[in-house]
Symmetry: C2
Subunit: 214 residues, 2 copies
Amino acid sequence: MPTTVPSPRDSEAKLQHILLHAAQTFAEEGFEGTSMRDISRVTGVSLSGLYYYFESKQKLLYLIQYNTFNFIMERLQARLDTVNDPATRLRVFVQNHIEYFLSHPSEMKVLAHEEEALDPPLRDEVAAIKRRYYALACEILDGVAAEGLAPGIPPRVAVLSLFGMMNWVYKWHNPEIDPGAEELTNGIVAIFLNGVLEEKAALYASESRARTGD
Amino acid sequence: MPTTVPSPRDSEAKLQHILLHAAQTFAEEGFEGTSMRDISRVTGVSLSGLYYYFESKQKLLYLIQYNTFNFIMERLQARLDTVNDPATRLRVFVQNHIEYFLSHPSEMKVLAHEEEALDPPLRDEVAAIKRRYYALACEILDGVAAEGLAPGIPPRVAVLSLFGMMNWVYKWHNPEIDPGAEELTNGIVAIFLNGVLEEKAALYASESRARTGD
DNA sequence: AGAGTCGTTGAACGAACGTTCGAGAACTCC
DNA sequence: GGAGTTCTCGAACGTTCGTTCAACGACTCT
């Protein structure tokens, strides 16, 4: 059908096919627990054939992590472009994260779980995106904090607790019994916003301070 | 020095020495990423000498996970024995967890991160303790919930979000810049209690429901 | 039809893996 | 001091690992 295009179409599709099944296997067996022969088996590509698409097992993991994170990041920025209200921006952030989590559980698990399996040169590149993502979250929290942050909760602890709630999802979420992205987002946002904003928060913070004699 | 005792003392101490350094290596390199030769090197025990203390690499991981979890569980039950107030019980629960986390980061990381590295027969035994721990957390939340739970947040999501906040700590906590166990516990408890109890929570839950047209 | 990529492969490489084994220290008890 | 247990180790086992390489069919251009 195409005339001038050489034929990277076929090849690109096959790479995506490999990335998909490799991510699933990494998610199930872990990066170190998965052999190139395993990936060859689940993709149907011969062992040596894999090396036509990427130059090493490390690079394969990198491709999965980089593609995944880049997609999340770009979709998030697009969605945030039209939103100004601080609380809504937070909700968009959480929803974007949770939505991807539930629709691509394997890729997300590999991203969250195999962070350190990548060796320094490539690991740093993924870490760089991760830092931008974290900075964006801090920025969003800053907006929310203008409404009054609870005392006794360092902002860093607040943001990372939010990441904890979101990123732990892959350890327990069961599509058959647990809520979908919408409801899950509502729950996490509710806990976080109510937990972190002042008024009632001040009550418990001072209570526990009194209890421990601070 | 001892007279009647055969001499398991020496051996027991050495086993603990191996468990400690193995946990550190597993935490740094991952279970699959660590070889028995690595463990031999960091413990100073010869490769074959290790097999006098445990029968396989799997069993070594099991010993680390089982000992760690058992200690946490028993200390928690002892601490809860003297406490009746629901909110304080929750605080004791979180504090016990976080305290162990910060004082034994390697063991805790291995427990949280290498859950699936254990094969079914042994994995199930660790999972059994994990279930008892989770059930205890649910029980504690039930006590707190008597004070009125926020609508729109399933209890299961609440408990697992709490676990998320606590268990994610190993990914980011830096002893040099982050708060210690006391303050960290205060922060997480404050977010969770304020986030999950009714009154203000109902506000945000209904807000987000209205926003998404539910 | 012939040159030149693109995609694929089986076979093989050396290295590293978890585990075993038999021999021998070191120690306790009689 | 000799028997028996506890502890340690070097050497080796067979297997699996990530990666390479030369070769070959399929396809596009001229």
